[in-house]
Amino acid sequence: MKNANKGQIRIIEAFFAVIIIFSAFAVSANLSVSNHTISHENLASIGLNSLVELDRDGYFCKYITTGNFTALREALSLVLPTGVCFNLTIYDTQMQQVNTEIITNSGFGSQDIATVEYVSAGQDSPFLCYIVHMQLWVVT
């Protein structure tokens, strides 16, 4: 009688073990791998889109021509997603640096930096053209 009970308990244990293992398979098959990071390419795309949008209607060039780099920094800080930092350097067609102050919203660097090169053309006479180099990174 005792031996017979032992056998039944083993079967029940094995049954539970099978249920647990198959449950583990079923659950783990649906485990999602969430990746909320901004990729390098996406960062460059975000930066370029922000520059294009700010340059619409000649605003970007107007900021540079008038030397209003504070406005440029504030506008860029607002349109870029929270947590994205940038550093902007502006050159004229002779590749002479135009910005007299550092245009950035953060002093901290990162290992993963995306670079965007953009050409901004003015809409007023005389015709002015600037080459903008922007580095972007995500605050870690």
Partner: protein, 355 residues
Amino acid sequence: MPAVSVDTFFACTLMVIVVLSAMAGASKIILPYVNNAVGLNAPERYEQLSKYVLLSAGAPSDWGQNGQADPQVFGLGKADSGNPYELDVDKVTRLNDENQYSVSYADAFASFGLPDVSFSLEIKPVFEVITNLTAIFDADNITVYQFEILTEKDGAPVSAEIKCRIIAESYLNTADTIPSDGKVYQNITIPDSVNGPALLVAFARHAYDDRIVSYGSYAFAHNSTETETRGTYLKLSPLNYLLNASIVHPETNLSEAYAVTFDYSASLEQVSRSNDSAVYQIPRFLDPSPVVIVLTGRNSTVFFAEWVAYPQVPTRFGADFTNSASLSSIYAFTYMVKVGSVIYRCTVRLGGPRE
């Protein structure tokens, strides 16, 4: 419990842990390398699709203006626009399900033409305007309402210029423009002779770029009972510079209609009227600002003010990915877009079956 059972239990536990670790490791390390080409290019594919939605005008290219037409090819871009990421005011407006001309996600999904890709769109102002009523002061023949107005982006303060407009029965008033570093208090004075409820519309224009504009609203009691929720008396649907007001309650009489922006305000002209609806012409304002349209009237003896923004933003449209993270690969792309003359933030989310 016999020792054999304890052994079996620990053995099973160990086995489960090993199996789970192996599966997690395999999915993280090995699977990306054994996926097919589509799987490897999925992020790029979804990014291009998100751009396509915003850059293409769709077909017919004027599907936004015609409230009865559904798009055959889905795209939100403004037709004949020379600028990228410039969206059509009416196409964006038709994404809002509060609008009676809104397109359904089923129609949009079908016209998108990719049965393996679900999508959602979220368009909202670049920063938020939050209005709170903080104090009320009674004086002779007037009541002063003190509002706290916050301008912020993801909780961070945003410098802006604030302009408040107050609407009540036969009453439209504008407060002086005030600068704000993210938080400011504004006193609003309303004569006691004016009947409420009153509606405060606070516009905020970014201090450095006048195309970045947002707004907030606050309905409050003034010489009246408490305010009703939006849509109680009228359903407002702007489209193609016409406002369709569907009357919800039968005993509703319409009175003044206003359109307000940051710089301008105007009374709306009624184009047509029937028993259950009225149509108004929306003026084309020059200043970069969302247009807030306020329609006032009376239901029996109760005064009301219903409002809607044109374009009807913020809006969220499409698939709900909240609970489908385990079944889908979801990619989100954020763009700055121009709708009308105002810059908005648009997030496109695309998802497909997990490879």
